[in-house]
């Protein structure tokens, strides 16, 4: 009762919503780099919202099902097939034991979420199955998936073969320039008005130094008075999306596998709803920043939650 990894692809990791409440022993969150696509993959199969899926980055993943079940793939734009027959993302499919699911390679949107009916069944570590390779926690053995890995999941009878898809209007789009909304915070007052203007009025490029800990951007140099202060600053807690600016002036957006504390000045944090716009994309993408207030961000979160809950799946 399982799914077998034939080819792991570029980077495939088991993820649930993430590991929370464990910062006191130094554990980070892990979890999906694109929370909305993750949520839809589970919802297409009527799974628990925290069910385990596979996050496949870029592509190249090949899986073989050893059960009859349903699957759904959301997120990235790699071509997909079941037994060489092309299928669509954002849609549920019934599959049989022996069926092979193959991923091509992403063009623009790089993170894919593969859910199975009922979710993958793995033993949680610290209340979560989220894989954080750096911490050797989650997934099968705290590592990325490898060829030959067997991930347990339940079998489902296929009496109800109705399929669902996410309406186009409810799917995120990952093309064009990226605008990231930023809540100013932390050491923002140590960045001069000129540096803030430079930060918000210029274009940054996504560098090739991007991983699940953080995405490094390149652009005009942004400086904080703390860069030249004797002794710098004390290390402190880092929240999701925090924008750290080390002495080289090049911002780093800290993500799911970030270290929980750090001592570089931060200008603020990227609004979580915008993080998938960044984490889905490839190096070389163009990025702008736009300031929003904490209150506006919270209103947007409530609206997004309302829209997600009231969105209807399309039944085929």
């Amino acid at each position: 009762m399982s799914v077998k990894i034939i080819q792991p692809g570029i980077l495939s990791l088991v993820q649930d919503a993430g590991r929370f409440g464990k910062h006191s022993i130094g554990l980070t969150n892990g979890g999906p780099l694109d929370r909305l696509s993750f949520a839809w993959a589970n919802r297409l199969l009527d799974n628990d919202s925290n069910a385990c899926v596979i996050e496949a980055s870029i592509g190249g993943l090949v899986l073989e099902s050893q059960v009859d079940t349903q699957i759904a793939i959301t997120g990235g734009d790699a071509t997909l097939s079941i037994n060489q027959i092309p299928i669509n993302s954002w849609q549920s499919y019934s599959i049989k034991s022996g069926d092979k699911i193959s991923f091509g390679f992403a063009q623009n949107a790089t993170r894919h979420y593969i859910a199975v009916k009922g979710g993958f069944n793995l033993a949680p570590m610290f209340d979560s199955c989220a894989t954080v390779v750096r911490e050797k926690l989650g997934g099968l053995n705290g590592t990325a998936l490898q060829a030959g890995d067997i991930i347990p999941c339940a079998s489902f009878s296929l009496n109800d073969t109705s399929q669902h898809k996410v309406n186009l209007i409810d799917r995120p789009s990952y093309t064009g320039d990226i605008t990231l909304r930023v809540i100013l915070g932390y050491q923002q007052s140590t960045f001069s008005n000129l540096d803030k203007a430079r930060f918000f009025n210029n274009t940054f490029t996504l560098s090739d130094k991007c991983d699940r800990m953080g995405f490094r951007l390149s652009g005009p140099e942004i400086s904080s008075e703390l860069h030249t202060k004797q002794g710098g600053m004390l290390s402190e807690g880092i929240c999701y999306g925090a924008i750290q600016v080390p002495a080289d002036g090049q911002p780093i957006v800290l993500l799911n596998d970030r270290q929980t504390i750090g001592g570089y000045p931060k200008i603020g944090s990227v609004f979580s709803l915008d993080i998938p716009k960044l984490t889905q994309r490839l190096p070389g993408s163009t990025i702008h920043f736009e300031a929003i207030s904490m209150d506006e961000a919270q209103r947007q979160l409530h609206l997004a939650q309302y829209r997600y809950q009231h969105a209807q799946l399309h039944t085929i």
Partner: protein, 234 residues
């Protein structure tokens, strides 16, 4: 106390700007009181040297309600002077260390820079009781402070690619034990056989933030008998 916005659902509370036991104690007390006062709306907290990061559920509460509860809960603590004992309710943990040039490749470097003998460095490292100021960087990595000024040493200009599990290091006036094999730039002075992070045992760590730690020198035989291993330094 000063409150700053950190992100869409987090506030960071600053209790000072220096490494001091009284400030760290304030952070610890605030963390405990706010956990009780805010309950389930808190998703996580990070306590560090002089700050407390509070992450709340933005669908359940907003910053104004959180700020109100912070002021109500901590208002009294801020004005009281008697509650400032740094060691209240902290545990003293003794950790064994095998100090030697074999297990501490930077002992000779610190000796060269400080003019102290290797024996003096080892004695000075054991002479103080340290406080756990923060846990982070890696699971179970506890930042302890502060070491005697004479043995304070800046991070290595080129970090090691591989530091073995249990390595005891110094960076500026901080000292710490690497809980697992990892890259790292601290000056290594010895090896500790105690597991600093074990996902399979409870508690997962021998120390928590706010605890006190003393180091006790042991021989190589004792180190090996306690299950220590001399790993790779690269």
């Amino acid at each position: 106390m000063r409150i700053e916005v950190a992100g869409e659902n987090s506030l960071i509370l600053y209790f000072g700007e220096t490494t001091a036991p009284e400030i760290s104690a304030k952070v610890q007390r605030a963390s405990k009181k706010l956990s009780a006062a805010l309950g389930d709306v808190i998703i996580d907290q990070v306590t560090s040297y002089a700050s407390l990061l509070l992450i709340f559920d933005p669908l359940a509460i907003d910053q104004y309600a959180v700020r109100k509860i912070i002021h109500k809960t901590l208002g009294a603590d801020e004005s009281s002077t008697n509650e400032n004992s740094a060691s209240e309710s902290s545990t003293l943990v003794e950790l064994p260390v095998y100090y030697s040039e074999e297990s501490g490749p930077e002992l000779s470097l610190i000796s060269k820079n400080s003019g102290l003998s290797i024996e003096e460095i080892i004695t000075l490292h054991q002479s103080l009781t340290y406080r756990v100021y923060a846990i982070g960087f890696a699971p179970g990595f506890a930042f302890l402070g502060q070491v005697d000024e004479r043995i304070a040493s800046p991070r290595l200009s080129t970090p090691r690619l591989k530091v073995p599990r249990g390595a005891v290091g110094i960076a500026d006036r901080q000292t710490a034990i690497y809980p697992d094999v990892s890259p790292g730039g601290w000056n290594l002075i010895g090896l500790c056989p105690t597991r600093m992070f074990d996902p399979n045992s409870t508690p997962h760590m021998p120390v928590s933030v706010g605890d006190e730690v003393r180091f006790k020198g042991i021989s190589k035989d004792e180190f090996l008998a306690l299950g220590g291993e001399i790993g790779d330094y690269q």
